[in-house]
Symmetry: none
Subunit: 155 residues, 2 copies
DNA sequence: CATTCTTTGACTAATGTTGACTAATATTAT
DNA sequence: ATAATATTAGTCAACATTAGTCAAAGAATG
């Protein structure tokens, strides 16, 4: 049985609301109060249960009038392709390999020509101006994976 | 709902007016009174929400008959839009300002929604996993400038 | 019993609000 | 003209109000 811990309860609460509305906007402390937990527990729930892999997009703002917004997004069909490419990338990738991955995306009609061009720029060695090759490849992997993750869903 | 703080409310108020007129001329104290805030809050709103990155030009005059004038500039009328944006970016840019620039490009139909989304990902703080703020902002400037330069060429 | 998941709270970071002080410009008095 | 005064806006730092991070402690699981 799921739901024996408070994180599961909070998860269900939020997902119930999201079943009706496209998105939900909460005040962290309010939810924390509602379930009598510390505020950072809300972060834990979001981090473990509202990931992009699950089809949720989260954004937030601090300061007065701050909020956490959770949106249910429409996952696309190319997820398998993206997953396998992300696995290939790992934590480090050369510019050459990165370009060929982007080429694959273009060949598979996942991205347009122009989108592919922009992605190539974003992983280009010369734009980083980093001399350390390992750092460069690690950074490129981070950026490329983030880009691929963005392609999982629309709007 | 987004915009629970008074700064957002004032921002919306001013932008609503700017939707009709090319520019708006306000008396700082009047707006401050209207929303029951201290006058310097108006400066805060302008400084954070009506930057050139957002496509707004602000000028003011002190003394009797003083005013603050906000103008919506059409960056695309200028053939050197990209140049001026690149100049604004310089060697370092915050995530907030970078997002503003990309938003402007989208508003002005320079990039599609999807392209803008990908660009935002490419300048997102969380994709870099760098703890050094200065390095982060410098890297972001490099990447954003490269992306803008790529937009010069059509494909 | 080892491992993973959950809970907690101290500390950090981002954003917004306020007011005292400063600076610029215009108006009035001399 | 010049000086004094009034009338605007600008700056900056303190304080307020949110959310994020991280690691340690506790609980559950297999």
């Amino acid at each position: 049985m799921e739901g024996q811990n408070i994180s599961d309860v909070i998860e269900r609460y939020l997902k119930t609301i999201l079943a009706d509305s496209e998105h939900i906007e909460i005040r962290r402390s309010e939810i924390a109060n509602l379930f009598d937990v510390v505020p950072s527990q809300i972060n834990y729930v979001i981090k473990t249960r509202f990931t992009i892999q699950n089809g949720y997009l989260v954004e937030s703002k601090r300061g007065g009038g701050g909020y956490i917004r959770i949106e249910k997004v429409n996952l696309l069909d190319d997820i398998d392709v993206l997953n396998s490419l992300i696995k290939v990338i790992g934590t480090s990738i050369s510019e050459r390999d990165a370009v060929s991955i982007i080429q694959t995306l273009y060949d598979e009609n996942v991205v347009s020509r122009r989108e592919a061009d922009l992605m190539v720029v974003a992983i280009d060695k010369s734009t980083y101006s980093i001399s350390d090759r390992q750092l460069e490849d690690a950074l490129r992997a981070n950026i490329l994976i983030s880009l691929l993750n963005r392609l999982r869903y629309e709007s």
